[in-house]
């Protein structure tokens, strides 16, 4: 197994306030990993740093042997919440934008996924329900053919039917050797999807554990384990 992501001594401050401190992480390729932490714990910041969107002020992030921010940015598929697009933009225009910006965007893959999720290209962004918008975000992210995907709270605020569809699209279209990191603060529903979880607490990586270990060694569900960590009643 090769290492897809490596983070060494990452520190990140914003307006003099520590957001992330002493982050060290090694992720093997081929896995689906949950990035867990409460709101404001720094999950999105960490993803933006890994995706090469924010600059790394201190420490080193290596993605697939690349350390240059611009190279990483071209090779990591980070789910965009589409806030940069105008309300009246059509789905087909967003898809065209993705094709132009990302050379690894596969039109064929997008067609398959969007058909499966029931997305209508003629619709305008403003006309989409939260669930459909969530599907679009995941479809766009998965349509890039790359090795590392970062899905930032893809299920947050989404109805249960759409959540199920999104989860199965992730399973269907994940290549065996690609890696997906999914952030969430609500884990029970995606626990069956995950190999490992990264738990962010107190501005740092509190623990990396396989889901199986949590179930076998602690006899707890992931959600329960994670809650106990936050309450301080579980120690490593």
């Amino acid at each position: 197994m090769t290492e897809i992501l490596k983070i060494n001594n990452l520190n990140y401050k914003k307006n003099n306030k520590t957001i992330l401190a002493d982050i060290n992480l090694n992720i093997d390729s081929g896995k689906i990993i949950g990035l867990l932490g409460e709101n404001g714990a720094g999950k999105t910041t960490l993803m933006r740093l890994i995706a090469g969107i924010n600059s790394v002020p201190e420490g080193v992030i290596t993605v697939n042997d690349m350390t240059k921010k611009s190279a990483i940015k071209q090779n990591v598929s980070f789910s965009d919440h589409l806030d940069g697009f105008g309300k009246s933009v059509k789905l087909s225009e967003i898809v065209r934008f993705y094709q132009n910006v990302y050379p690894d965007f596969s039109q064929a893959k997008y067609v398959e996924i969007s058909e499966y999720l029931g997305l209508d290209e003629t619709k305008r962004l403003s006309a989409l329900s939260t669930g459909t918008r969530g599907k679009l975000i995941v479809a766009l992210a998965l349509s890039r053919e790359t090795k590392l995907y970062l899905l930032d709270e893809p299920l947050s605020g989404i109805d249960s039917m759409s959540r199920k569809k999104i989860i199965s699209s992730i399973i269907r279209w994940k290549d065996d050797d690609s890696t997906i990191i999914i952030s969430d603060h609500y884990v029970t529903e995606i626990a069956s999807l995950l190999d490992d979880v990264i738990i962010i607490k107190d501005e740092t990586v509190y623990e990396v554990s396989s889901v199986e270990d949590i179930q076998e060694k602690h006899h707890l569900g992931v959600e329960e384990y994670y809650e106990q960590i936050y309450e301080g009643s579980v120690t490593k």
């Binding site: 269907r172 889901v211 199986e212």
Partner: protein
């Protein structure tokens, strides 16, 4: 898919597949769905499905064929053993529960035959 939170998913998947084999939904010698199909069906990671299949292979219940996928064994002795095992597990739990109600073996046997008779009557 509804899973029990604190039991490894691969064990739960293995258990479901074993029940399908015992109940003949997956017949002796038949081909199992692909890893990806099972993963979608179980809303689970393919690594997790692989792990369940690996244990099933080690237990000789399924046989992988290179490039063709996994096949259920043709040996009914293996499946019967599996069935005995699952039935014993079910009885274990029930027997222990009845014992904890202070019932002795004769009472347990009698009330079970009584129960089966009632179920049969309800069916008619």
């Amino acid at each position: 898919m509804e899973y029990i939170d604190n039991i490894p998913i691969y064990l739960q998947i293995k258990d479901i597949l074993y029940r399908k084999i015992i109940s003949n939904e997956y017949e002796l010698g038949s081909q199992l769905p692909s890893v990806r199909q099972l993963a979608v069906q179980f809303s689970a990671n393919s690594n997790t499905v692989q792990k369940a299949l690996k244990e099933m292979t080690e237990e000789d219940v399924i046989i992988p064929q290179r490039g063709k996928g996994n096949y259920v064994t043709e040996d009914d002795a293996i499946v019967n053993k599996l069935k005995d095992h699952i039935v014993t597990e079910m009885f274990d739990t029930t027997y222990d529960k009845l014992h904890s109600l202070n019932m002795n073996d004769t009472e347990i046997t009698n009330s079970f035959s009584e129960y089966v008779k009632q179920r049969e009557d309800n069916h008619e």
